[in-house]
Symmetry: C2
Subunit: 178 residues, 2 copies
Amino acid sequence: MVLDAALALADESGLDAVTMQAVASRLGVTPMAIYRHVGDKGALLDGVVERLLGEVRLPSEALPWPDRLRATARGVRRIGQRHPGVFPLVLQRLVATPAALRVRDTVQRGLVDAGVDPGRTAQAERLISTAVLGFVVSEVGGRFRNHSKRTVDGDFERLLELLSGLLESERAQPARWS
Amino acid sequence: MVLDAALALADESGLDAVTMQAVASRLGVTPMAIYRHVGDKGALLDGVVERLLGEVRLPSEALPWPDRLRATARGVRRIGQRHPGVFPLVLQRLVATPAALRVRDTVQRGLVDAGVDPGRTAQAERLISTAVLGFVVSEVGGRFRNHSKRTVDGDFERLLELLSGLLESERAQPARWS
DNA sequence: ACCTGAACACCGTTCAAGT
DNA sequence: ACCTGAACACCGTTCAAGT
């Protein structure tokens, strides 16, 4: 598949290495052949981002919500670390694709179970996702490259704690689990 | 100056329009002339990001810390909105440049005045900055483009409230102001 | 010191043509 | 339906040469 080739290239040599010609030659094909399968280079990158989000390992719905939300955040981070070349694009593209909705809905269900007022889960999800994505993009994009892995790991765990705190302040009804 | 031309191009026509040849022709000069002034296209973009951060309006140190921190965040957001083409690069480049340190130190002084344990201001600053930058990059990069301005403005104000909450939980000593 | 001309290998993309 | 050849205008960058 075209998207696999593009993602493999990005993982091996960075986003700049993802050119139509490089993707084509990895598939043993001429560059223009690709235009039959993706409309455009932009569409190619959109497809790769979608694949990335689809790769996020989501936790079992049977887990209590605090573990579930933490596991989701860690799953997103793991994908970022696995694909640092393309991950930053996640913050620049629309959130309405199926794979993006899949992650979003998992978070929103977690929030509902946590007892967040149903009228406020959408905003809470946006802020939580933005914080987590912003962190991971910073990390894999090199913004923290002066800091040790231990420091960055500690920052991420602290972020998760703070997001739990956010939920406490947001809860209107008793939680359904926990 | 070369950086001004590059920034103006990005503002008018997006990041893709910032090519060595376009910058050169805007200056009425041949493309290779630019290599005398910036080493590289990467260095050019670094320079533009630096200029951006230098443009952030920082609040007076005389303000009470809660207003000061809020004003700093709003100042960052305003620059993002003013320069949506280049702003996303802020999350991908190192934080150790002079203009970046200028913003960072303002936040850290705010945290100290808020009574955050001095051993923890660095982490708190990183998390706060990451959350704010992640939000603004999402906003100007179009991740929220399905939402109305009112919704996005509301999200940002809510984010600021939550960051204040973070400070409450982080305070070890009585605040110096407020 | 600064700018230029000519040239390099490489982009994304189109179009008409082939099977 | 899918792939190809040839071609387009445009990239970033180098090097030797000019003032």
